[in-house]
Amino acid sequence: MNELNNLYKNWIKDEVSSPDVEAAKEAFLKQKFPPAPVPASGPFWGAPSFRFALVGCMALLLVLKINPIDHATVSDPAQITTAVLVSENPTPDPAADASEQPQTQIKKLGSQMGPTVAYQKNFSDVQITVVWVFPKGA
């Protein structure tokens, strides 16, 4: 009888473990019983990490309300000047051809934040811009 039992059990086991049967199972379960939506009082919203993030956001909003960021606008540039940097060498060689050196444009800008200077320098096909802002009182 053991042989009969084994044959029978293997016959059903092969069928139940068939990939087609497993695929049909997943398709049916997803179609008929989709995952339940996460409730507002569920584990996600009640998670300590979420609560901490929520408190942090609220604190930040409170701080910004008390001490708002001064959104200074950049006024029209009061003056634009152009200077040629002949050389970075402290003792420049007057005989050197100035046209061979990369030129740096220096622009002085007026700003409510304070004195602002923009440096622009071209390297082959790359332009690098550095903006210095000197806050008022600094």
Partner: protein
């Protein structure tokens, strides 16, 4: 209420919790399919019956009163649905006498050309047995239910269950050319 490991999920499902339904059905889908296949022996039909059973349970979950374990109730619904499906497609008449089994259908499984051929013979042999016999066979041999549990599930007398299992095993062994000696394991 009996000690039912599914009690919590069932109560949540009865409250309308779809996640509980999903968990229950994911847990028992294979079981329902195995029982259906044991009775029907046809994949597509078994899949249809499995889905019908789960949809019915989903719809009628309130009818489960806890008089038995949920799993027992599920067995009952599955067997009934499977037997109904068999009746609808006009099965072969159940054998009354094992001796009527055609000897020409028997083969020596040790000489079977392939496992696939043996599976085919198993399927053919099972088709010679009534749906009611196949039901008790799958509950006993695959689900490992006791005679009492099968009797409780199918609402039969224990003696009827034993008798059906005896004849089902004997018929199957005859069809497969296996020597059969009734030794309860």
């Amino acid at each position: 209420m009996r000690d039912d490991p599914d009690l919590g999920l069932v109560q949540q499902a009865q409250s309308g919790n779809q996640a509980a339904f999903s968990a229950l059905f994911r847990k028992y889908y294979n079981m329902v399919y195995a029982v259906a296949y044991g009775v029907l022996n046809r994949r597509e039909e078994s899949q249809d019956v499995t889905q019908d059973v789960l949809i019915k349970v989903h719809r009628d979950i309130q009818k489960f009163k806890g008089d038995s374990k949920f799993k027992t109730w599920l067995y009952r619904v599955t067997v009934n649905a499977s037997i109904d499906s068999v009746r609808r497609r006009k099965e072969a008449e159940p054998i009354e006498n094992v001796g009527d089994f055609l000897a020409s259908n028997t083969i020596d499984p040790r000489r079977a050309a392939s496992q696939a051929e043996l599976k085919e013979r198993m399927q053919e042999a099972l088709q010679k047995i009534s749906a009611e016999h196949r039901a008790v066979l799958v509950l006993r041999e695959w689900e490992n239910l006791s005679y009492e549990e099968i009797a409780d599930t199918l609402q039969l007398e224990a003696g009827t269950v034993m008798s059906r299992i005896f004849y089902a095993r004997k018929a199957l062994a005859k069809a497969l050319g296996i020597e059969y000696h009734e030794v309860e394991s």
